[in-house]
Point group: C2
Chain length 355, copies 2
């Protein structure tokens, strides 16, 4: 603490991301990165931009990227906002759409950055308990809040809500802004993007960090009614004119245009996920039905903490959350088939030590 710290700094509890180990080489299944490299066209686009031109500021509007995104999602460019990772895009939503003292709502168990943003911007929040099976009951969301923030699929459970249910919810709460965080949607869930033209209270946020294999470059985006996008632009342009650097813009544009590569790696990850889930169930693990690039698993006899520690000692990093209700779960990112085989083999040895 220090005499120059603001009240905000005194009161916030920063988000703690999954570790990025520097000590040794792990099988890294802890931060939901893609096991496959970015498209070769992305690498080529970066190489072309690597030169003298880096002395010049990037396009503050990221126009080419917005055009590529609007083409891909069949929207207009003014329905697209781009930012420095979906974390930044989500952060901008708070001052863009809520006043200090307003209340927004999200599930009790979800991406743990949401309450951190709310505290940073002085926005209140109410959480909604999950059902016992970790599904979200949309009927439990309170009527008096100003907005709802839903990760779909939810994190860290991986459980998705169907599009019909989402649409009914947006319809019912037409007075509230509904923000759907679709960071993991490309691995088999239904996206709400097709609803963007029909509902002015819907904002969809996505990222290049998972399905586009570009966590290292920090690109996220939002899709919505042009008035919502304009609010985000106004906040961004009052914060940092150039949030997306030249290389990130070129890489993201190339990534979005290589539809075939994208479909290919998403398909492989889904296949690996399903096979891994099957094997884990067969050796006695509880596995939630995931539509994301991770599995949320527990075992009745071994604690989450113990499993986490033993895997780490065996060179496998997964994510464990010390939070009531999920303390016995591990969130395991989907790696390559080879990595998942090693994981299953290790887990199997813990639960059947005599084998």
């Amino acid at each position: 603490m220090n005499r120059f710290w603001s009240d905000t700094v005194r009161n916030i509890s920063p988000y703690i991301p999954g570790e990025q180990p520097k000590d040794k080489k792990y099988i890294k299944l802890n931060t939901n990165e893609n096991p496959y490299p970015p498209s070769p066209k992305v690498i080529e686009a970066i190489r072309k931009e690597t030169g003298s031109i880096l002395r010049l500021y990037p396009d503050p509007e990221a126009s080419f990227l917005k055009e590529a995104l609007s083409d891909f999602y069949r929207l207009e460019p003014n329905q697209v906002f781009a930012g420095n990772g979906s974390d930044e895009v989500l952060a901008f939503c708070f001052p863009a759409f809520f006043n200090p003292g307003d209340i927004i709502s999200f599930p009790e168990i979800t991406y743990s950055f949401y309450p951190v943003y709310a505290k940073l911007y002085g926005i209140g929040y109410e959480t909604v308990a999950l059902n016992n099976d970790f599904t979200i009951d949309l009927d439990r969301f309170p009527g008096h809040v100003k907005g709802v923030l839903l990760a779909n699929p939810n994190a860290p459970t991986g459980i998705a809500i169907g599009l019909n249910e989402i649409e009914a919810f947006i319809n019912k709460h037409h007075d509230k802004l509904i923000i759907i965080d679709e960071a993991y949607v490309d691995f088999g869930a239904e996206s709400a993007v097709p609803l963007v033209n029909d509902y002015e209270n819907l904002l969809v946020v996505q990222t290049f960090s998972k399905s586009r294999s570009l966590a290292g470059l920090r690109i996220g985006f939002a899709l919505g009614n042009k008035n919502l996008i304009e609010a985000l632009n106004r906040v961004k342009n009052s914060f940092n004119s150039y949030t997306l650097d030249r290389i990130a813009q070129k890489a993201a544009t190339a990534a979005i245009m290589d539809k075939e590569y994208f479909a290919g790696i998403c398909g492989r990850i889904v296949k690996t996920r399903e096979a891994t889930a099957k094997k884990l169930i067969s050796i006695g693990f509880n596995v939630l039905p995931s539509k994301a690039n991770f599995l949320f698993v527990s075992h009745d006899k071994l604690s989450g903490r113990e499993l986490f520690t033993r895997l780490k000692a065996d060179g496998i990093l997964v994510r464990h959350f010390d939070m009531k209700g999920i303390e016995n779960f591990l969130r395991i990112s989907i790696g390559t088939d080879e990595e998942m085989e090693i994981l299953v083999d290790r887990l199997s040895s813990y639960v059947n030590p005599v084998r």
Copy 2:
């Protein structure tokens, strides 16, 4: 306007950066970019990082970059904060050190992003008029404010304050946070970095966009007492864990380590600036004494607007601010010798049309 807009969005007036033209090729002297490419070692570092590794998140702490910066400036790594351009670093200062309702002070004519940040974060501000010769009179800063934000050299004038004067000011206002924005300091002004260990109320902000030729990659940093740096880290980690992507981190680290290249291009720019200033004075322009990589110039008979428009028609982009007191000035970035010769030739033809 839209029913979902927050009060903040309704009330802010976003910053408008200098144009990044897409229509045709200009001699671009409008956004203070460096005319020389980044160090070859930067290009090499980027090439090495361009591959499969981009699928992984960057180091959220940017440890290698902070180490390189602390080596260069003879500080400890915990006295260094790094962000997505100095614009982001400056933006974080507002919620980190000031409460809504607090008042900070800066010169009336300075980087026009400062009041934009203040409005975004609900911080009040008081501006201090410049002297008639556009110098800053530090004695005019009010005693009751919570902090002072000074660009040194100042923008868009280019005029610098000496280190002795800065130190006396920090001493006198030991109860206030003094933030020195040294975006242009490497072109001949005195940096306040050597004071960082002596004053816990001093924060220095710098950027890779000007002297390091990396405007396209968006890297800025702050140097100060470790408690001030911790406050910035807490805000950043409540906003976006990974503000600096992999390539930006590697590029910036390589740039800071290539001291020789850096000294070389800064020296060339200073030489070109001095030669250009001399020529402009000789053809009748008023030129403020600049320690930055730009000149702030006016002519008694031709308006700033007219000069701007004629230069643009002739393929030269400079910056003109429609603001009382400086409406007759142009801010001209220092380009290569060849570019500046063309500029002087054009300006000369406007003031001596019969020549």
